[in-house]
Structures are given as structure tokens and as C-alpha cells.
């Protein structure tokens, strides 16, 4: 009887111990802090407004808009700061440097090509339609990213 009780206790303890990581999963691996402006977090039904101290789970996305920002504070101590119009996917088992590098700016002016001829004239009937084709372009995140915002 005593042996049975001990076995039961051991089984319960083992079950409890095994359940710990799972409980941690459900509780997330990071939290959203220092919210400023409009910050969105992906949920099961799509994006919703993020809340201060909201727990973030693996795979969740945090998106900031203009005049907004937030910090994703991982439980392991890694701190990822998001400025306006940035996007970040919460991921477990990644070194902090990799997480920091994962912050994606949605608005990034870049110059991509070399200079060309002068712009077209204002005079009608002259070279208005010509000019500046193939010049450097101030682009907005030129790379073709196929990742959905959701």
C-alpha cells in the first residue's frame, strides 16, 4: 500500500515535472513592454492591438506603425526594441543576436542605382516624357519579401 502511494506520488511528480515546459509554452516566452503608439500583435484570428505586459508565444508577430514602438522582452533576458513601422517574429531557441537581426524595417529608403541624365523639361512638347528612367530610385524596402504581414 505504502509502495503504491509512493509510486503514485512519483508518477504525479513526474507528470508535474513533464508539464512544466508545456505550461511555460502556454504562458509564452516573452512579453511586450514599453508600448508607444499603435502596436499590433498577431493572434489566432489575425492582428489585434498589443497590450502592455502581454505574453508573447513562439511564432507571434509584433508590428509597429507610425509614431509607435515597443520592446519584446524575452524571458531569457534578450531585449528586442522595435521602432516605428517595424516587424518582428517571436522565436524560441535563437541567440539574442539573431533575434535582434530579425527586426524588419518596413520603410527603408535606399539608393539602388547610378545617376543618369537630367530630368525632363517643364515646357510642353519637349522632353517631358523623357528623363530619369533608370536612375537611382529612393526605394522603400526594395527586396521582394513574400512574407505575409499576418
Amino acid at each position: 500500500m505504502k509502495i503504491d502511494a509512493r509510486r503514485t506520488l512519483l508518477a504525479l511528480a513526474a507528470t508535474f515535472a513533464a508539464a512544466q515546459p508545456h505550461a511555460q509554452d502556454n504562458n509564452g516566452i516573452a512579453k511586450l513592454i514599453d508600448l508607444r503608439g499603435n502596436v499590433l500583435v498577431s493572434q489566432a484570428t489575425g492582428l489585434a492591438a498589443g497590450k502592455d505586459s502581454e505574453r508573447l508565444m513562439d511564432g507571434m508577430r509584433v508590428i509597429t506603425t507610425s509614431n509607435s514602438g515597443a520592446v519584446v522582452q524575452f524571458d531569457n533576458g534578450c531585449r528586442v526594441e522595435l521602432k516605428e513601422n517595424q516587424r518582428f517574429e517571436v522565436q524560441r531557441d535563437k541567440p539574442c543576436e539573431a533575434l535582434l537581426a530579425q527586426v524588419e524595417s518596413m520603410v527603408r529608403p535606399t539608393v539602388v542605382a547610378a545617376a543618369g541624365p537630367a530630368p525632363a523639361l517643364l515646357t510642353p512638347g519637349t522632353a517631358v516624357q523623357a528623363g530619369l528612367v533608370g536612375l537611382s530610385v529612393w526605394r522603400w524596402r526594395q527586396n521582394e519579401n513574400t512574407v505575409s504581414p499576418n
Binding site: A48, S66, N85, G116, R141, S148
Partner: protein, 394 residues
Amino acid sequence: MNAALRSGIVIACLIVLWRAVEVNVVLYDDAGRPAAPAARAGGSDLPEREVLMQLVRENPANAAAYAMLARDFEAAGDTAAATRAFRSARRVAPVDHDVLAAMADHLLRHGEVAPALDVLAVLVESYSDVRDRAFAVMARTLASGQYAAQWNAILARSPPWLGAFIESACRGGLEATALAPIYLQRVAAGQASSAEGACIVERLRESGRWDQAYQLWLNTLPRERLADVGFVFNGSFEYAPLPGGFDWIVDRRTMREAGHTADFARAQGVAGQRALRVVYSPDKRQAGVPVAQFLALAPGRYQVTGMAREEGMKDGHGAQWTLRCVVEGKPQDPFAQSVRFTGSGDWEAFSFDATVAPGCTGQLLQLEPAVTGSASAFLAGTLWFDNLAARQYH
């Protein structure tokens, strides 16, 4: 005596009038703008230039004379003197339409783009009639990326024409990625209009940049609408759809034109105050889609859910919700669809599964006639929908 005096007066008047006509012919072209002196073959224009110089000496505030002088210098190949003359003209008439236009033209022709941009900025600020042409040139300077200092100065001033410029440049085909940062800056300053945003979002979507389009669109939403964006936006149909972006696109044509109407009507027995109502005419073949929404779902499995109610849907096939990938702006074949809504019934929940494949970065959710092998359909009756949503399976 009187007759002689009268004749003298008439002759004197005619002489003065003729002189006035002569001067005007020399100074102005047919459109009333200051005319450039005709270049003389192979020689200098000294006499005419002397006349212009004299006009300027007599009246240093004669902007038209300065402008003509500038053109004279330019025709003679003296660009530096022409530029100086234009500067003088602008000094005495800082917002004169013709001076500004001629000066911008001159500067652009001689590759002085940065100062030309400054002149154009003043021109479009003062005169709306030149905006179409000036905006086209200005858009090219923006696209070139070489005049960041001038554009930053313009953006810092945030002139009232900037919104019109963004719209014009967007409609004119300027790369949306060049306009997006400016637009977002205006959003941050609370100055952007929904029309500007709608155009840029549409352009980005058309060019396959769905994530950027979605991000930009998020920036256009009022704060209260960001509380619950969802995969399907405004699925409760409580708010009038916002133009462009990822809200509902409701066919605004009349019953007579489209064979259907769609609106967000007050309804009983549903969550909230309103629901989507689509009425199909029994007398008209339907053309087009009454309501649709672009989505930006990440690849994965989803369940689309909603509430539906049918009222006298007589056609045997009915209507159904479909999901299609959008590639290069064109909806593809459906990859998921709901049940068909026919007959009559009370509010009932419906759902259907959808798997978004990798590469399908943008989708279209739309209500369409459930017909096969035909571009049009005959539907009659009314359909109600509410609480449309999508949930991702994990």
C-alpha cells in the same frame, strides 16, 4: 477748326494705339506671355538686348523685361547671364507665374535640377493650373533619389500641395515605394488623406508587395479600428468600408446596372448593429461581384467562419464565398469556397477550411454566384452575412 482738332486727336490716338500694339507684339507672345526675342541668324541681338536693358534700367521692377533678357542671353548661349537675369526677375516678382515657369524651364534645360525644384515648389504652391505638368517633373526628381536635400526641405515644410502631388505621382505611375516614406511621414504628422494612401496601397498590391501594402494600410487606420484588425477586417460589417486597402470593396453600382446591391444594413438577431445585406434582382442578370475583400494571409491552414441568412434565394445554385490567390493583380481559380447559400432560413453558422499555399501572398475573399462554366448568373433574393472571420490552425 473743330474738325481739324478732332482729326488730329484721332490720328494721335491711332499712333499711340499702334505703338502699343507694336510694343505688345514685341514683348508678349500670342498667349500673353513674355516673348523671347527672335534670334537673328548668325549675329548678336544687341539692339533688342539694348532695348531690354534700357527697359530694365528705366524700371528695375520690370520682371517681364528681365525674363525676356534672360531668354535673349540664353538664345545667345550665355547661360550664366540668363540665369542671373532670371534670378533678378524672380527677385522683383517672386511668385510671378510666367517668371517662375520660364526660370524652372531654363534651369531644367541646363541641368540645374536642384534650384529648379525649389522654383517648381513655389510655382505649384501658387498656381494649381501648372500642377499636372510640374508634378510630373517633380516626380522624376523624387524617383531619381538625387535631390534628397531639396525633398527633405519640402517635406519639412509640408506644403499644402504635397497630398495632391502624392496622388498625382501615384496615379502617374511613380513607383509606390518612392512615395510610401513620404506618405508615412504625412501619416505621422496627421496630414495624409485616405485617397493618397488608397492609391499607394493599391499600387503596392498590384506590384505584388502585399506585406508593404498591408503595413501601409495599417498606418491609415484610425486607432480604434486597430483594436481588432483580424485576418478578415470589419467582418462584423459594423463600420462603413474605408476606401482602398484591405477593407470591404462594395459594388456601388445600382441594381439596374449590376443586378445586385450590397450594403451594411441594420439587422435583427446578429451581434452588433449591422450585417451585410446583398439583394439580387429577379429581373436582371448579375454582373460582377457585390462584395469582396483583399486578404494577406500567411501560408498555412485556416478556418473561415461566419453567420448567414437566406431570404427567398430562388436560383438553384445560389451564391458562395470563395478565396482566390491574387497573382500580378489578377484573381486566380478559387482554392477554397463556402457552401452555397440558397432558399430561405434563419441565421445559421457556416465555416469552410482554406489552405494558403506558399507563394500565395495575397488573396481575395468574395461573394460570387455559384455557377460553373458561365460568366454570369441569374440570382433572386436576399442574403445576409455577419461575423465573418478567419482563424489559423496551429
